[in-house]
Symmetry: none
Subunit: 235 residues, 2 copies
């Protein structure tokens, strides 16, 4: 993959006043190969846009000094086409965020899964032509996944997945052959505040196996005591 080389250049500014969230997000984005800048409030954000010159912003709507929208507005001409992904609370009224997806911006409601966030970011960068990686498709062996159409096929045969199954498979496919720990899977596929029983993961692995591995040699493998891995069967 030449992703790293090309994305090393891509700068993302993350603006949120909760240090925990800021940490989790920046870690995840750095790991994805982005250069990450942070700001904890509107004033810092405006300053950081000038100094850091991000290609994309992640902007919490609830900031201590001003609303995220206000930041976006004040950027005005300076913004110069920097797309923004707004982070909104679940109970933010729909009409507040309405119109965002039209201007090339988008929003993600808290609590979100990191995988969801990254997917949105990539989709926007793709549309804005900032990422050279134009394809919305993932493939492993004869298993294919298209993020635009949300279509999954194995050996050309369509596989019908529910939302959670889809997100889980996408995460596995974006990290092929790597062993993903139980914690990583829960962190990336479920929202960051998911407090339920960790055994849901096993349930969904089981669902996926039935649907994905039912149509060919098993690709989803258990690594006892650690987690799961997407790879070809040995021997």
């Amino acid at each position: 993959m030449s992703e790293l080389a090309e994305q090393e250049e891509l700068r993302i500014l993350v603006v949120d006043d909760e240090p925990n969230i800021l940490d989790v997000i920046s870690m995840a984005l750095r790991f994805q190969g982005f250069k990450v800048g942070t700001a904890a409030n509107g004033r810092e954000a405006l300053a950081a846009v000038r100094s850091f010159q991000p290609h994309l912003m992640l902007l919490d709507i609830m900031l201590p000094d001003m609303e995220g929208f206000e930041v976006a507005r004040r950027l005005g001409a300076e913004r110069a086409g920097i797309p923004i992904v707004f982070l909104t609370a679940r109970d933010t009224t729909e009409d507040k965020v309405r119109g965002l997806t039209m201007g090339g911006d988008d929003y993600v409601t808290k609590p979100f899964s990191l995988e969801e966030l990254v997917a949105r970011i990539r989709a926007i960068l793709r549309r804005a032509g900032l990422s050279e990686e134009v394809s919305s498709r993932l493939a492993f062996d004869n298993l294919e996944l298209d993020d635009d159409t949300r279509e999954v096929t194995r050996g050309g045969r369509h596989i019908e997945l529910t939302d959670t199954e889809y997100r889980l498979l996408r995460y596995l496919m974006s990290n092929p052959r790597r062993v993903l720990t139980r914690a990583q899977l829960l962190d990336h596929v479920w929202s960051y505040d998911f407090g339920g029983d960790a055994r849901v993961l096993e349930t969904y692995i089981s669902y996926l196996r039935k649907k994905v591995d039912g149509e060919g040699p098993p690709l989803i493998h258990t690594v006892r005591g650690v987690g799961y891995s997407l790879r070809l069967p040995r021997s």
Copy 2:
């Protein structure tokens, strides 16, 4: 799509005194690949025409210092065939805007959907020969839509649609096979200030299904928890 390459050259001047509207519109147009200049009143607008040399103007009729028409008049010879799309309040008397469409100009009443605005702009550019993209027609499978005549047919049979149904179908058809989220659909098809219940979307999907999918295999598909998608049925 080669749209970007060809439209990068096209300059649009947006004139409105409400910062929010100005923002939303310019973002949307930038995202569509236009080069956008802005002005907040008549005086700025006149100056911007000289410096920015737009190919098309978006002109609010209600400006603090003078009426949009006045701006258009004062441009006089300088206007040199720049087409204008006037933005009017809903209650603007019809006779005020009458005759506009004769001269190659057009008008859109507030509040409008951005999709609507973009469609008008493209139509005018098409007529003025400024856009290379000549076709006003969309097609998917045996479903066809002509934006000039607003005619929709499936397998040659005419389908009668109301305005909202038409805009919804057009948006689906301009993004075939892609899964469009609830938010995207509401953003693109309804006006920017629509604050109502998101369930209208479902109602209109239901209307469309009755009219469009009543005449052949279903093309409008639900993607649970995400949105809708226009595609052929799977096997």
